[in-house]
Symmetry: C2
Subunit: 345 residues, 2 copies
DNA sequence: CTCGTTTCCTATAACGATTTAGGAGTAGAA
DNA sequence: TTCTACTCCTAAATCGTTATAGGAAACGAG
């Protein structure tokens, strides 16, 4: 009775006035049964309109919010969307942007955002399987898709709602948001060609990644058209230390490389460091095109040709795509391709 | 019966073999009552040791994991730790690092990480209050503390578990992880003084932030000792556009400023851009000390004097601090101060 | 043999929600 | 009047868990 206790169910405690309202509270206040209240809020067709109106009014006044545990226990729906990210690659800003726009989009919905990470070297499927099998979320979002992504295959087979940041070879059949890396690769090459560069090196992310393949494909195509040469330098680890980049660049420079394409702020910075310590000047002996999520690189070297990727847009799309996959499993999946503009000026 | 249905409770469905095991499953298999199984797993003192061993064995074999909804409904514990972040300031890398180390630390525990954001201009208390009042989490973690932080006061009064990234004036009474910005300010000034700089400008974050005040205090103290001068340039918005910084710098340079201190990668980059467009060279006419979470700045301008802050460490501490606040409300709060080293070489 | 004690387990009731089956009224038809 | 049909609501069961109160069996003491 005093303030010692605190055993048993804590959350609503019920009894004292002013506690968190539940269906039971509304039932008491309206004189209806709990079941009726529940059905009224669900807008059941066999209730009188004025009954439903009354219930809704009281619910609003009390600020009733359905208890998540009760709902989840009964229906199996968690109202959670899980984000399973890799901490690798471009920790810089993409990650934070993506998370914040996901959270921002979900904020006026009943969904919560749960963040977990899968770690390098670990089975890609493991965290996803865990989420699905223990019913931890209603949908999953993940990034760093592979062309033949096992997660996508597994989730499609099970018809579990999901959305990916990046496409796969089943892109027509699932929800995704992606940046048009093919276009990026092509634009990058064309910009360099227009600047008079003829031998272009692409510092590519690991080539098993879908987007890396797109960049390479786009660059290769455009190079053929523009009549310039392209060399692919796959980036073995994702942490592109500048020493590694420097070594690679030292190898290819004697071959006459005069343009470089980078896929991220990170690798662009490492590359600039490498180039400068090899005595090259941007805009003079060599040019650099890079993709970045935050207008950053041009702050540093205004000579860098930067192409923007709006990760915030991807986050907003992914959040809506996940909700749609949950609520309308049959509907065509939401998809969004962000295409960069070749707005040379 | 066929695959049409899917009404009613989804998660365990129970019936077909191989479904998610619950206490009931274990009870059936051992011939014990559900309550006994529950108590056995909780290691109740009035059960025979071999009974408990049996239950645990069967539970392990089945891979039993307590159902979160059931647990939450009954006990009120959510097994969720909520992170309420500001998307402002140093979106760069701090945020992503913090989230990933929180998630990484929580990963082998029963706790899940829920991410929500509070937005600029919004009442700081609002999201926190929402989390607490609707029982969305067992603990809250947030950043960007103010010296007199209303969230901290509110949570302490209610004895709700929390941990902060950054201290407050009640720092001795709650859990926190922080970087020693006082030491950073002092070290920064000493490094500049040792380099022969006499008039130092501090590009400070908004001065209502606790850490901004610490940096200023540390710089001021050390300046007095070293016999150099310090000027504070408070950064009005957090997005320190380089144009703004440039304007400020243009004002103070004629006064003989020859050293600059920046609190983040962001502002350091803006500052460098500003300085260079004003015709100054780092390491020549002027020196710059900056704090950063990722070894980044020295990649770009090796002349920048960079001091590292390990946000990953803060994340790990905050996760453990939150769990401790939940599990041992009486125990002294976990606190961690990361002190930068003045390792000039 | 009977009565307390101790040991070890179980039945029941909740937590808050939804779903199913059914029940009390009222109205209309024969 | 009596039966049927419809409208609108409710009782009960259930999801998985834990706390409380109590009960069966075994044992020792008188």
């Amino acid at each position: 009775m005093s303030d010692t206790a605190a055993e048993g169910p804590l959350p609503s405690a019920g009894g004292h006035r002013g506690e968190t309202p539940t269906l039971k509270t509304i039932a008491r206040m309206t004189g209806l049964a709990v079941a009726t209240v529940s059905r009224a809020l669900a807008d059941a067709p066999d209730l009188r309109a004025d009954t439903k109106a009354l219930v809704r009014k009281v619910a609003d006044e009390l600020g009733y919010v359905p208890n998540r545990a009760g709902l989840r226990l009964r229906t199996g729906r968690t109202q959670v969307i899980a984000l399973a990210m890799s901490p690798e690659h471009d920790m810089m800003n993409n990650t934070a942007r993506l998370i914040s726009s996901l959270a921002g989009t979900l904020r006026e919905t009943p969904y919560h955002l749960n963040v977990s990470y899968f770690f390098p070297g670990e089975d890609l499927l493991k965290p996803i399987r865990h989420i699905v099998e223990t019913g931890l979320a209603d949908a999953v979002i993940f990034n760093q898709t592979l062309p033949d992504d096992p997660r996508v295959a597994w989730l499609m087979e099970r018809r579990f709602p999901f959305a990916t940041h990046g496409r796969t070879r089943w892109a027509d059949r699932h929800a995704w948001a992606d940046f048009d890396n093919l276009a990026f690769g092509a634009i990058a090459v064309r910009r360099l060609a227009r600047a008079g560069r003829r031998r272009i090196a692409v510092i590519a992310p690991p080539l098993d990644q879908n987007y890396a393949q797109d960049i390479v494909a786009g660059a290769t195509l455009a190079a053929a058209e523009a009549g310039v040469e392209v060399r692919i330098l796959p980036q073995l680890t994702s942490d592109a230390a500048s020493a590694v980049v420097q070594e690679r660049m030292a190898q290819v420079l004697p071959e006459g490389v005069d343009g470089v394409i980078c896929a991220s702020t990170n690798s662009a910075m490492a590359t600039v460091a490498a180039l400068e310590s090899l005595g090259l000047r941007l805009g003079r002996e060599i040019d650099l095109v890079a993709k970045e999520a935050i207008p950053f690189l041009s702050l540093f070297r205004r000579e860098i040709i930067a192409i923007r990727e709006d990760v915030g847009r991807a986050g907003a799309v992914l959040a809506r795509a996940a909700m749609r996959a949950i609520r309308e499993p049959g509907a065509p999946p939401l998809q969004d391709l962000e295409t960069p503009q070749d707005d040379d000026q």
